[in-house]
């Protein structure tokens, strides 16, 4: 079975890496299948300087896929925006390395505009509030890195294996492929799952799904395929999904995947 994502490594640069907020984020990243590397500087310099040197060294050594970087290091005045200095150093040396700035102090339009002014508009740099939920951090990192996973877990009971082009139902050793979902039906479910993985609330418009249907009335054909997918997954889970479960038809605009509450 393929991993969710293989070999992704996130470098975490924060002087409060043992705080509850950071621990929750690290836990969530590890659940996602990402390895987390926490920068731990050696003593001898001021807090900010230590982190700057240790971060650059760690990027060279660990070759991370993305960096989660705090803005502020300690309470010393010189270190209030040390993270922005580190950001500049990283962007200069590794301009393609995605960086998510963890902001916690006086953030917002002004600060971001000022920083963005010194970056290219398409720099892979984004900002997120330190109060953001771990799920929000994961979603932002997925898009920043451009992650396309080999397999997409939908809750505990459904797994879309992109390489094998199969949908697995059940958990652990009881997991079995839903052989009714193949070909066009797999493509439809994969499109819904990939969109959900990237942004859980995003609707997949009919225009994007109708290319996987055929006949004179592609929308009717799509409706039939969607029903067959729901039946196949429901059969594997010994349940029956209603119209507002698993795959929703939203106001005649398109479909959206909703992980089942089992």
């Amino acid at each position: 079975m393929a991993n969710v994502i293989t070999g992704r490594k996130i470098l975490i640069v924060d002087d409060e890496s043992e705080s509850g907020i950071l621990r929750a984020v690290r836990r969530r990243l590890e659940q996602e299948g990402w390895e987390t590397v926490v920068v731990e500087p050696e003593s001898g310099y001021s807090l900010g300087e230590e982190f700057e040197a240790a971060t650059l060294w760690s990027i060279e050594q660990d070759l991370p896929d993305a960096v989660l970087l705090d803005v502020r290091f300690g309470e010393h005045r010189d270190d209030q925006f040390r993270g922005l200095g580190i950001l500049g150093e990283i962007v200069e040396r590794w301009p393609k390395l995605p960086i998510l700035m963890f902001t916690q102090y006086a953030q917002g339009p002004d600060r971001e505009t000022a920083v963005r002014g010194s970056l290219k508009w398409d720099s892979p740099v984004d900002f997120i509030d330190k109060l953001a939920s771990p799920d929000e951090v994961v979603l932002r990192l997925r898009r920043l890195i451009g992650t396309s996973p080999e397999s997409i877990p939908i809750g505990d009971q459904i797994l879309v294996d992109v390489n094998a082009r199969l949908v697995y139902i059940g958990a652990g050793e009881y997991r079995t492929p839903a052989l009714d979902i193949q070909g066009m039906k797999f493509e439809i479910f994969h499109e819904l799952a990939a969109t959900w993985y990237r942004s859980p609330g995003e609707l997949v418009a009919f225009s994007r799904l109708e290319r996987y249907s055929e006949g004179e009335d592609p929308r009717a054909s799509l409706r039939v395929r969607i029903r067959e997918i729901k039946n196949a997954i429901g059969k594997g889970l010994n349940t029956r999904f209603g119209p507002s479960e698993l795959i929703l038809n939203v106001r005649d605009q398109g479909y959206r995947l909703v992980p089942p509450k089992l």
Partner: protein
């Protein structure tokens, strides 16, 4: 206003330079053209007058701008070394930092506790999970409140001039949806969003303004929706539109005219304690209009009908960079 004073100062400078030119030209003309020697004296006088007038205009303009700045600072009781908005922002940063730190600790502890409970044996009491969810739900409120104050300071600053930048509106909507999808799910509600076309492409706009307006609208919609919130992004050749729809009870027609008033909330009419500052929609519409767009509302509060509220944000979609990089 500051720009006006600067323009007057520059004009005064030009007049003074004109005076210097007259003074230089007077003897030159006199030396080269003997029969026009009489020009020397009047040209010299004109030169003197222009220098004095030009410098006078510049000095008066400078003094005028200083008096105006001092009166603003005196009105706000702030340090005249900084602009009004800079000083206010400094206070705000202090407030944000000092209040933010304990809130981050609370959120951190809540997430730790949730992890410990999940890892432990046996079922966790639903009431405990509800309490944790409630703490988690409050964090976006704090983020929005901070953002509201910050934008309000900028919006009402006399030096307000936000630059236009390349923005991908689809990405902005996606980001807001990511923030609120989890919040809505905890309250048993759902957010659906989509864009037509699927990727809108780049426009030159004030990305902070778009993000701020839509965040306020989605926050309201999640609060008042019965079960569903929809966010739809569309465009025409000159504008792009964000429609935020919720299936909540709707707003009475008698209140619609006050909806965007500063500080207005439904509790004002009922003379009850306000549940919010009433700044969100005021800021949202002000920002929209300042960006050359608008924010309107369409609502139905009939209990037996298709009750809903839909806010429509329209903003100009500049497809090329402005010449001076600013509005």
């Amino acid at each position: 206003m500051n720009k006006l004073f600067i323009s007057i100062r520059i004009a005064g400078g030009f007049i003074a330079v004109g005076g210097v030119v007259c003074l230089i030209l007077a003897p030159l003309i006199g030396e080269k053209v003997f029969d026009k020697l009489w020009l020397i004296e009047p040209l010299t006088y004109i030169g003197y007058v222009l220098i004095v007038a030009g410098l006078g205009v510049a000095v008066v303009s400078y003094v005028g701008s200083q008096i105006k700045d001092r009166s603003i600072h005196a009105m706000n009781g702030k340090n005249p070394g900084n602009s009004w908005s800079e000083t206010t922002l400094q206070y705000f940063q202090l407030f944000d930092h000092d209040l933010g730190r304990p809130l981050r600790r609370i959120a951190g502890k809540e997430r730790e506790l949730r992890a410990v409970l999940q890892a432990g044996p046996g079922e966790v009491d639903a009431g405990v999970i509800d309490l944790l969810d409630e703490i988690e739900r409050q964090t976006p409120n704090f983020r929005l409140m901070m953002s509201n104050i910050q934008v309000l300071i900028q919006l009402e600053s006399p030096d307000n001039d936000e630059p236009l930048q390349p923005v991908e509106p689809t990405e902005v909507i996606r980001r807001i949806s990511d923030l609120y999808t989890a919040v809505a799910a905890e309250a048993g509600k759902e957010i659906t969003w989509w864009s037509e076309p699927a990727e809108m492409g780049l426009v030159y706009a004030n990305s902070n303004a778009i993000e701020h307006i839509v965040t306020n609208l989605v926050d309201n919609a999640v609060r008042y929706a019965a079960t569903h919130v929809e966010v739809k992004l569309t465009k025409n050749p000159s504008h792009f539109f964000v429609r935020v729809w919720d299936d909540g009870p709707g707003i009475g027609q008698q209140y619609v005219q006050h909806l965007f008033d500063r500080g207005w909330t439904p509790e004002v009419v009922k003379r009850e304690e306000k549940s919010s500052s009433g700044l969100g929609l005021y800021i949202a519409r002000s920002l929209a209009r300042q960006s050359g767009g608008d924010l309107t509302v369409e609502t139905d509060d009939r209990a037996d009908g298709d009750h809903h509220t839909a806010f429509l944000l329209s903003l100009p979609s500049n497809l090329t960079a402005p010449l001076n990089g600013n509005r």
